[in-house]
């Protein structure tokens, strides 16, 4: 653990993610206003002592909306990546463990999925569903499991013929035991790293969808739709674009630093000392 944080980038990434998580969790305690409270007498106020990040086109407090928006963005990241990782582990494990035609079939499905640009696939699917935060999470999850599948399969293929696995098998271990107690725990590191990096891209996809009006629906706040609202007023209400834009930037950066650092830390080649 100490080795992990000796890398300043990991530390920074960790601090960023931890503080955003904390802010999102305690949002109801620290938000100065109800995020949906409309005040038509206080439309588009610039940042001031009452409204730290100003107000939007309906007089809602941007700071409060940002805090509640953080919950949405983070939740989308975790749930979507959770779904993707779960699918990825199952399919990757089956393909890597059993090989043969199952492997071929699963990997061709992966190839087909990868050949479709994910964002446009998501757009097309969302167009047929009611846009809501749950649908967004499910759709992002269902369209981004391919990387994890490939990764788990590759790990399994390389671990499958190692001595400890062969030994366990020789001792009579069943397939389930081999997969869950021998292969999977030894493949966890790359899965965790890819998940953390996956969260970053899920946060961006959610923001992108909300920006296009297909993500989280009004009046619920998300960073993406605060940014969309800001687009209309960008010539004179910079605070509506800057704060959500920065929040997305910092969050994605945090996840990337953390994921990158973890990868370095658990890399067998860098663990020589």
């Amino acid at each position: 653990m100490r080795k992990l944080f000796s890398n300043p980038l990991v530390l920074i990434g960790f601090i960023i993610i931890a503080s955003i998580l904390l802010l999102a969790i305690i949002a109801p305690l620290i938000a100065p206003y109800d995020p949906d409270a409309i005040d038509v007498k206080a439309i588009l106020l610039s940042p001031n002592s009452q409204h730290l990040m100003g107000t939007d086109g309906l007089g809602r407090d941007v700071f409060s909306r940002m805090l509640y928006g953080a919950r949405i963005s983070l939740m989308v990241g975790f749930v979507a990546v959770g779904i993707a990782t779960a699918i990825g582990i199952v399919l990757g494990a089956i393909a890597g463990f059993y090989r043969g035609w199952v492997d071929t079939l699963i990997m061709r499905i992966v190839d087909v999925m990868l050949s479709i640009p994910t964002f446009f696939l998501i757009l097309a699917v969302i167009a047929f569903l009611t846009p809501s935060i749950w649908n967004i999470m499910i759709v992002i999850g269902l369209t981004s499991w391919m990387g994890v599948t490939r990764l788990v399969r590759a790990e399994f293929l390389s671990l499958r013929n190692r001595e400890f696995v062969l030994a366990a098998q020789a001792l009579g271990a069943k397939d389930g035991r081999l997969i869950f107690t021998h292969l999977l725990p030894n493949s966890l590191t790359p899965i965790i790293v890819s998940s953390i990096l996956g969260i970053a891209s899920a946060v961006l996809v959610e923001s992108g969808l909300s920006f296009l009006g297909l993500g989280v629906q009004a009046p619920q706040a998300s960073w993406g739709n605060i940014l969309t609202d800001g687009k209309e007023y960008i010539q004179f209400a910079w605070w509506l674009s800057l704060f959500p834009g920065l929040a997305i930037l910092i969050t994605v950066l945090g996840y990337n630093l953390l994921g990158d650092g973890l990868r370095e830390a658990y890399n067998p080649r860098s663990s020589q000392h």
């Binding site: 949906d36 409309i38 038509v40 439309i43 588009l44 086109g57 309906l58 007089g59 994910t118 964002f119 167009a127 009611t130 846009p131 990387g147 490939r150 990764l151 590759a154 790990e155 390389s158 790359p190 790293v193 890819s194 990096l197 996956g198 970053a200 891209s201 961006l204 996809v205 923001s207 992108g208 920006f211 009006g213 629906q217 009004a218 009046p219 993406g224 940014l227 800001g230 687009k231 209309e232 007023y233 960008i234 010539q235 004179f236 674009s241 800057l242 834009g245 997305i248 930037l249 994605v252 990337n256 994921g259 990158d260 990868r263 890399n267 067998p268 080649r269």
Partner: protein, 567 residues
């Protein structure tokens, strides 16, 4: 070693995706902001003093911006505002509205209505010519009528003209139509029909003809060049039936995004555009450099925004529920918050202040207590204490549907909030226009919509409110049905005396307000910015709006801009 290589591959894959998205999500505002800055490079042009007086002259090009490109320039086929905006500079109608919204002749000198009110005889002006020098005669008018009523012509405007039982052209300057029964909106319909040239179209399929992209008309301008996705350029028609317009050329640039149009206006690349309330009320006051060169015009539009109930669905078939929701919505808040004060409350489906609008009617005041009381009599109370009203164990919840339009979305949010306060849970769903109409409005798959109506000048609203107009795709998609209203609408079409007609429509509006099949939200102002180099604009605007005399507008030659070469 192997593991590292694989992780790398995976890592790069994920990251490539996120980098592209990062550009979409984060850099767009910066790019827009950067474009905004470039406008200041053109500030040198602003040194010209646009306040000097010059006599009217025949010169200059007026450049305006439109959000959509016309699909063609035969208005009856295109049926869209982008097409009619351009086509109305190219084609004439028999009649037109003058600046006080009285009907007057355009292609006709005069017209007579027979004593039984069923026959109208139009007398065309002598020696009318098309832009290609062919004579324009009553045969062209007859031909246009045949086309608009032809079953093969794909036009939404046919039904009005199909009421004509006999149309004839006894001589070159006379056109006569006969209706089975007196039809009060008749003259209005003839003021909206562009007369097309028979000699160019008689052997063509009007739905697909190349004439739609290369029209020949009789009005002030003719099409000079149409560059797809970029602009339409009109130049003066020497044979114009109404005399010569003062401005040489009209250039309509196609710029889909309002914010981009505004940047072009700031950079002095366009002369005129329609503004949204934010641009009008917030950006302009903060930009003295723009105010110096650009004049703003504000006029009440002939349209209104409303919240409409699907009367076929429960509980909206109950008038008490509809009235309760009407009381629960704060209309002034919507006008102040969404339109930034640039709107008027409405209580009838007519433009406030016009003859047809009943001055005795007042909008439902904002009164949440009355709303709750009405809901209680309708059986809605919070029996289970969860904060949402319920009846027979079912909570009162529905979906507010609207199209992708910032103002309508904000309106929805305000309404949702107010309904929430009295215990109605409403969700908002925003849809793109085509699927909004095709998947929800036409098949009537909605609970409640926020939408707008643009109105014609004639008070006849048979197609919107008459119970016979409920088929899929017809305008009465809220399924309103009231025998008294049906009867009044039928009478209104037969009555030609303006005062009696007015009484009919006042009565109709009164019933409509009591019935509350829709909640009137507001009538917004049309907001226009026009560069001060353009002169001759009536201000304040007469009832017909500032656009009524565009042919009298002029650009002094001292102010005319240099022609751009690729236009």
């Amino acid at each position: 070693m192997l593991i590292k290589a694989r992780i790398r591959m995976m890592y790069r894959y994920i990251n490539l995706g996120s980098i592209k998205l990062a550009f979409i999500a984060l850099l767009t505002p910066l790019i827009i902001a950067a474009c905004g800055d470039s406008s200041s490079s053109n500030q040198t042009n602003n040194k010209i003093d646009y306040t000097k007086n010059y006599p009217a002259s025949n010169s200059g090009t007026l450049i305006d911006a439109m959000t959509g490109e016309p699909s063609g320039l035969i208005a009856m086929i295109a049926g869209e505002s982008a097409a009619s905006a351009i086509a109305s500079n190219i084609f004439n109608s028999l009649l037109k509205y003058d600046k006080n919204l009285e009907l007057t002749g355009e292609l006709v000198e005069s017209w007579d209505v027979s004593n039984d009110q069923k026959t109208i005889t139009f007398h065309l002006k002598p020696n009318l010519k098309w832009a290609d020098n062919q004579p324009l005669t009553s045969n062209d008018v007859l031909f246009t009528w045949q086309k608009v009523t032809d079953e093969k012509t794909r036009t939404p405007y046919g039904s009005d003209f199909k009421l004509v039982t006999k149309a004839e052209a006894p001589d070159a300057n006379t056109f006569r139509v006969t209706y089975a029964a007196p039809y009060a909106p008749a003259l209005d319909t003839w003021a909206g029909l562009h007369i097309l040239p028979k000699h160019l179209l008689k052997d063509q399929d009007i739905n697909t003809t190349a004439f739609a992209r290369n029209p020949v008309g009789s009005h002030y301008y003719k099409l000079e060049k149409w560059k797809n996705g970029q602009f339409l350029k009109l130049t003066r028609n020497e044979n114009a039936s109404q005399g010569q317009a003062k401005i040489n050329k009209l250039l309509s640039r196609i710029i889909p995004d309002k914010a981009a149009q505004f940047l072009e206006l700031s950079a002095d690349n366009i002369d005129s555009m329609g503004l949204n309330p934010i641009q009008y009320a917030r950006i302009f006051p903060a930009r003295p450099d723009l105010n110096k060169n650009i004049a703003l015009y504000k006029e009440l539009g002939n349209s209104y925004t409303y919240l409409g109930f699907n009367l076929k669905r429960k509980p909206f078939d109950d008038v008490r529920v509809r009235q309760a929701i009407n009381y629960a919505i704060n209309k002034q808040e919507i006008i102040d918050g969404v339109l930034l004060g640039l709107g008027e409350p409405v209580a009838s489906p007519y433009k406030p202040g016009t003859r047809w609008s009943n001055p005795e009617l007042k909008p439902y005041p904002y009164d949440p207590n009355k709303a709750k009381a009405l809901l209680k009599t309708a059986g809605y109370e919070d029996h289970d204490g969860d904060g949402v009203l319920d009846k027979d164990g079912k909570p009162f919840t529905f979906e507010i549907l609207t199209n992708q339009n910032k103002e309508r979305e904000m309106t929805g949010v305000l309404i949702q909030r107010r309904l929430n306060e009295i215990g109605i849970k409403a969700n908002i769903r925003v849809l793109e226009w085509a699927s909004f109409l095709g998947r929800f409005i036409k098949p009537k798959e909605f609970d409640v919509v926020v939408l707008g109506w643009s109105l014609s000048l004639d008070p006849d609203q048979y197609s919107i409110w008459h119970s016979s107009q409920q088929a899929p795709g017809q305008f009465n998609f809220i399924s309103y049905s009231n025998p008294r209203v049906d009867k009044l609408l039928e009478e209104g079409r037969l009555e030609l005396n303006p005062d009696k007609r007015m009484k009919i429509y006042h009565e109709f509006s009164k019933i409509l307000l009591e019935d509350s099949p829709i909640v009137y939200l507001s009538a917004g102002y049309g907001l226009t910015a026009i560069h001060k180099r353009v002169r001759g604009i009536s201000n304040p605007a007469p009832p017909a709006g500032i656009g009524h005399n565009t042919y009298e507008w002029y650009i002094p030659s001292a102010y005319a801009r240099n022609e751009m070469s690729d236009h």
